[in-house]
Structure formats: C-alpha cells, structure tokens
Symmetry: C2
Subunit: 158 residues, 2 copies
Amino acid sequence: MATTGKTADRARPTYFPTLAAERLDIALCRASSAVARAADAHAAAEGLGVGQHLVLRMLDAVGPCSQQALSEELRIDRSVMVSVCDDLERAGHVRRERNPADRRSYAVTITDSGRRRLAAAQASIPAFLDDAFHALTDDERDRLGAILAKLLETGTPR
Amino acid sequence: MATTGKTADRARPTYFPTLAAERLDIALCRASSAVARAADAHAAAEGLGVGQHLVLRMLDAVGPCSQQALSEELRIDRSVMVSVCDDLERAGHVRRERNPADRRSYAVTITDSGRRRLAAAQASIPAFLDDAFHALTDDERDRLGAILAKLLETGTPR
DNA sequence: TCCAAATCGTTTGACAGCAGATGATTTGCG
DNA sequence: CGCAAATCATCTGCTGTCAAACGATTTGGA
C-alpha cells in the first residue's frame, strides 16, 4: 500500500505486540526495562538506591556478610558493590568491620541507623510493587513470580 | 565431604531465592539480565547484533520505515538507532532512501542482501529461545508470554 | 503569508555496568 | 616449612545506554 504521506498519529501500526509474541526474550527485556525504570524512580524519590536497599535488606536478614557474599547473592557485580558499600558507610548505615579469621574480607555490618533506614524503605515497597505491576491480577503476579523463580533457579545454560 | 567449615563453601546460604520471592521487580530484572546476556552471546556468534536483527525483521514485516518508527516500535532509543542503521547500511543490508513527502525522515529500506541475512538469522532463533528458556515447559513459556504482553500493553504508570 | 512550535536524524556528554589487572592475604600441597 | 594458586576488595578502562542540544525541515495557527 502506498503510504500517502500523512502516515501520522491515527491508527498506529503497532508492530511491537507482534514482536513481543514471537520473541519472548525481547518481551522479557522490555518489560524489565520498564519496571527497572520505575524502581529507579521510586528509589530516587525514596533517597536510597536500589542496590543500597538490597544490601541493607540482606544484612538485616542474614547478619554480617563479606562484600563477596553480598555480591553473589544479590547478583550485583563486586566492583559495583564497592561503591554501594562506600555510600552506605558514608551515610552511617553500615560499618566495614575486619574479619579476624580472614583479613582479606570485611564483615559488612548494618548499624541502627541502617536498620531504621531499611524499615522506612521497606514500608514503601508494597505500594511500589502494586503500582509497577498494577496491570496484573494477584494470581498473575504469583504465576509470574513462580515462573521467574524457576527460570532463575535453573539458569540459562552458559 | 563433611567440611565443618564455619561459613564457607558447602551448604550455601542462598539468600537469593528469598529475595526473588519478595521482590518481583528484582526477579524480573535478574532473569532479564541472564536472558539478555545469552541473547548477546548468540547474536555475537551469529554475527548480527540483536538490534540489527530486530530492525531487519520489522522492515521485512511492515515495509520501509523511518528511524523514528523503528525506534518507537522496537523500543530502541533513537540515538542508538542511528548507529544500528549505520552498521546495517555499511553492510549493505538496508538503504536510507529519502522520503520525498518529508525530507526530515528517511525511508529505511531492506535490501535483498538484508533479506538473506535476516532469513539466516531467523532460522537460528527457535533453537536459541529453546535453549534460553529450557527451564520452562511450553505451557509456562506461553503463560510467561501472555503475562509479559499484558504488562507491556498496559505499561507501568509513570 | 509568515512565524512559532513540533518533528526527524544526529552529535555530544554523562553515567552505569562489566572485564581484567593489582595488592594484600589466605589456603593447598609437596 | 615454603611456595604456587586461590580469594577478597579495589581500581582502571571500555562499552552500551540515555538525556539534552542542535540543524534541517515540516506543520499549524494568527
């Protein structure tokens, strides 16, 4: 069909749904980008970066950890973890204590200040999640979570 | 292997599943990263970037498009689209034809060379998807696709 | 008609994420 | 014991992504 010049705003072609249907990897990545953007915006408004929040959450849940352990469990690169811990330490939310049994690693420890900060940040998470995934029913969110867990658990081969 | 080690290697704590269960956004992002990494590796092995593949696919499906249209439908930033089209043009897979009706925009057009390249790349996609999502049953893949489509369709509110 | 605003492609600059190298320390093994 | 290899935190450099600004062109309204 000859595009008669004025192929502007009305009756959009919207190729994207077709793409998403045939490329599950692309659908996953695009959805992730949208959610990540929302998460960053929320974190910025909250004044605590996503990575910082996750670190505090894990330290509170499992106790003092090395940066290595934090890095592996939170899937944050260890070179990035350096600056995340730097910021948390500067804010007084964690301390880097020496591990006497292994002086190569720190025992990153949450402080009372960090626990208070975490509590505040945690309180805002349910509303954020509800907002980010408002397009889905509770049932669909559960199913999505289960499928992603299975995917993450088994991992993608090499 | 009864390593009575205090905290070390065997019987890992694995906090990650807990995190994924309580933070659907993080689960989505981490799964996306893993899949994206696999897609990049596949694309590199195939010799055609992911973005380039998507552009060829859309041009073949809907005919000549402006870079703007490609950018919006494929969810690729327009400044990135410039270099994607540069590479494709340099390889002879597309031509940038002038749109006489609107000389601001190009009519990016796929060439025969591009169609051949696309056919080869398309042929390798099913095996790649099967590999990347091998942890999921066909049913789970369908459900994941449907849920992601719904999420993408409605979008995350600002 | 004419001019302000919008649109398209492009360039530039800032910034996050990741690979690889490095120094300090610990571990494994002869 | 002694030394090679592994581990932890850190630093450096590269790459990909995105926001903002910019010329060229089109559009809409006074």
